[in-house]
């Protein structure tokens, strides 16, 4: 599946496209199937997101989980500062 992520324009927070808006929790992301470009174009134009891009994801107990390690670190927050992450329980390393 494909999910869309980016950063909040004002705060820089990592955000995920929920189908209706943006969430700071990756698990609330929705599969955009083949609509990534449309979402990115309209949301960027509306200044609601910065540097948006689509990533491959897989289903997990907590909702869609990005496949690539870089996006997992974005979902988790810095792995060396669990106190700062908003989703520190994200499994980073694929086993």
């Amino acid at each position: 599946m494909k999910i869309v992520t980016g950063n909040d324009l004002k705060t820089g927070d990592v955000i995920w496209w929920t189908g209706k808006g943006w969430s700071r929790h990756y698990g609330e992301a929705v599969d955009v199937v083949d609509a990534a470009d449309t979402v990115i174009a309209s949301e960027s134009a509306a200044q609601r997101v910065n540097a948006a891009y689509a990533v491959d994801a897989e289903a997990s107990p907590n909702g869609p989980l990005p496949l690539h390690i870089k996006d997992r670190v974005r979902a988790a927050g810095p792995t060396v500062r669990a106190d700062l992450g908003i989703n520190p329980a994200v499994p980073i390393v694929k086993g």
């Binding site: 950063n7 324009l9 004002k10 927070d13 960027s44 910065n50 540097a51 670190v73 792995t79």
Partner: protein, 543 residues
């Protein structure tokens, strides 16, 4: 320390207001990200893996207590209560909000600081020796020259769109504490027959194609230095490649032209530039130099130190260095606690270091390229009080230049360009070697880790270097041995196939144990490696 004159302050203040307006327009949707991105980067504001990241310039790594306090204040008020000191002697904040940035820049400007030219293809913050003005072995204080270069390069119209970024280092002693020859231009001040001048090295760098800068001029008179550097840049600006970012650094130009041809072209250009009157009049140079006059040292104070506290004595031996002034010493504050994040300091720690500088250190601090902090001028009688205060704040790590004094870039925990995480590897290695006796037995060992080939963590220059690579989506680590960023500059060599995170820690330990086995008395890891060669280590590491 240098203090802004009215021009310095006016241009920095004007830039803050300009950026305030740009941010306002961006947030109102009047300009797009494509239009805004180059503007924010000119003010040090990146968009990184988790958030906006602000890189603050610390000119030649020198700070006053007030400036350091402001860094702590910003971390506390606008970020998440910490900052990251970098190998470029700068500071990065990892969690900055766009809407706060104009206020942050205004706060910085109020203490004569900014984030200008910390990004982009311009001349970046000048780096220098963290012991400048304190080291016994310097032929002159490099800071006035670094300051002169700072003023010359700030908003230099001709050099604001170079083919690629440009980094300059200035040192003034044979011992190189600033990785001078791994800069685009490395300047070593020297005296010849009593005349001050400089050896000029051009075309060094790390990144994807590491190169040691060849010597382009064996002696440029100090009076000609600015014109000479201008000529070096002009030749690069004209002929450096703009078609391919990977080939755009000056090191590639010099490699392709050859040092001799580049030197010839610079000489031609210099003959012309010298007629333009770029070099400062003596009065201006004296004005700048006056700011770096030695502090008011007390004369005739004792060199004796009470070493009865054993932990203090260990720190003294490892982290405190000789000062040129009798009765004084140079204090190194290691930002490398075992299991910590190299270069990170909390707001409270930043405040404490500022306070110690104000109270005991003539109000001066330095940031080192090894991501540590220095109090350059401290009376020996105050060392114990300083150590106690540092110790209470978790800052008395007695590991300077030892295996746990690791340089690590932010890596995949923070950086969007990364292939792999650097910080957890640094933490695991430090924990493996936590025993200070073992570290001291191993002796000087510079271990440096980068999370990708850009080499922000100087891995090429590590006695032991670690480079994170992406192996089919899994973090993997290559081991290099034999690098050095000191006066015996060398580039480390990849020793064999890579490792996973635990494997790399074991490999480092095997290499170090091999060194302990085969070293001769007085040899550092690097010396042994150079003497016995890579194969001995390869055998030990791969079995």
């Amino acid at each position: 320390m240098y203090q802004y004159d009215q021009y310095d302050q006016a241009i920095v203040d004007a830039r803050v207001e300009e950026f305030r307006d740009q941010v306002k327009r961006r947030l109102a949707g009047e300009i797009t990200e494509d239009q805004f991105k180059p503007l924010r980067l000119m003010n040090g504001l990146y968009l990184q893996l988790h958030a906006y990241m602000l890189r603050v310039a610390i000119p030649y790594g020198t700070l006053s207590g007030k400036q350091m306090r402001m860094l702590g204040h910003i971390a506390r008020k606008y970020d998440r209560d910490y900052g990251h000191f970098t190998t470029r002697q700068n500071l990065q904040y990892n969690w900055i909000k766009l809407e706060d940035t104009p206020d942050i820049l205004a706060d910085l400007a109020s203490v004569e600081m900014h984030a200008i030219q910390t990004s982009g293809n311009c001349i970046r913050n000048i780096s220098s020796d963290q012991y400048a003005g304190a080291a016994a072995d310097e032929v002159a204080d490099p800071r006035p020259w670094a300051e002169l270069l700072r003023q010359w390069s700030t908003f230099h119209p001709e050099f604001s769109y170079l083919p690629r970024k440009f980094k300059i280092a200035v040192i003034a002693s044979e011992e190189d504490r600033a990785a001078m020859r791994l800069h685009d231009i490395g300047i070593e001040l020297v005296r010849r027959d009593g005349v001050l001048g400089a050896r000029v090295f051009v075309g060094g760098g790390m990144g994807r194609t590491p190169m040691i800068a060849p010597e382009i001029a064996e002696f440029v008179k100090a009076d000609d230095l600015l014109s000479y550097v201008e000529a070096c840049l002009r030749v690069y600006n004209r002929y450096g490649r703009r078609d391919n970012a990977y080939k755009a650094r000056i090191k590639i130009l010099i490699h392709e032209l050859g040092a001799d041809e580049y030197r010839r072209q610079v000489a031609d250009e210099f003959a012309h530039v010298k007629t333009l009157g770029i070099d400062p009049p003596l009065a201006e140079l004296e004005r700048i130099t006056a700011y770096f006059a030695p502090p008011a040292y007390e004369q005739g104070i004792s060199d004796d130190i009470d070493r009865s506290d054993p932990d203090f004595a260990l720190w003294l031996d490892q982290n405190v260095k000789a000062h040129k002034q009798p009765g004084y010493a140079i204090v190194n504050i290691s930002l490398k606690p075992i299991g910590g994040i190299p270069g990170d300091a909390t707001s409270d720690q930043i405040d404490l270091m500022a306070e110690l500088a104000e109270k005991y250190g003539f109000d001066e601090l330095r940031v080192t390229h090894a991501q540590n902090i220095v109090l350059p001028h401290v009376a020996k009688r105050d060392l114990y009080a300083i150590w106690q205060a540092l110790d209470a704040a978790g800052l008395a790590n007695a590991n300077l230049d030892l295996v746990s004094d690791i340089i690590a870039c932010p890596g995949l925990d923070y950086c969007s360009l990364a292939n792999a995480r650097s910080i957890p590897v640094a933490q695991k290695i430090a924990e493996r070697f936590a025993d200070l006796d073992r570290q001291r037995d191993i002796g000087e060992l510079k271990l440096k880790i980068s999370g990708c080939i850009n080499a922000c963590g100087h891995h090429h220059a590590g006695h032991i270097g670690i480079l994170g690579v992406d192996k089919k989506g899994i973090e993997n680590y290559q081991l290099t041995l034999g690098g050095s960023g000191a006066e015996d500059t060398s580039i480390g060599k990849i020793i064999g196939p890579g490792f996973d995170e635990d494997g790399i820690v074991d490999a480092v330990e095997r290499a170090i144990e091999k060194y302990r086995e085969v070293r001769t008395p007085g040899e550092r890891f690097l010396d042994t490696y150079r003497r016995v060669g890579a194969d001995v280590f390869k055998g030990a590491i791969y079995g």
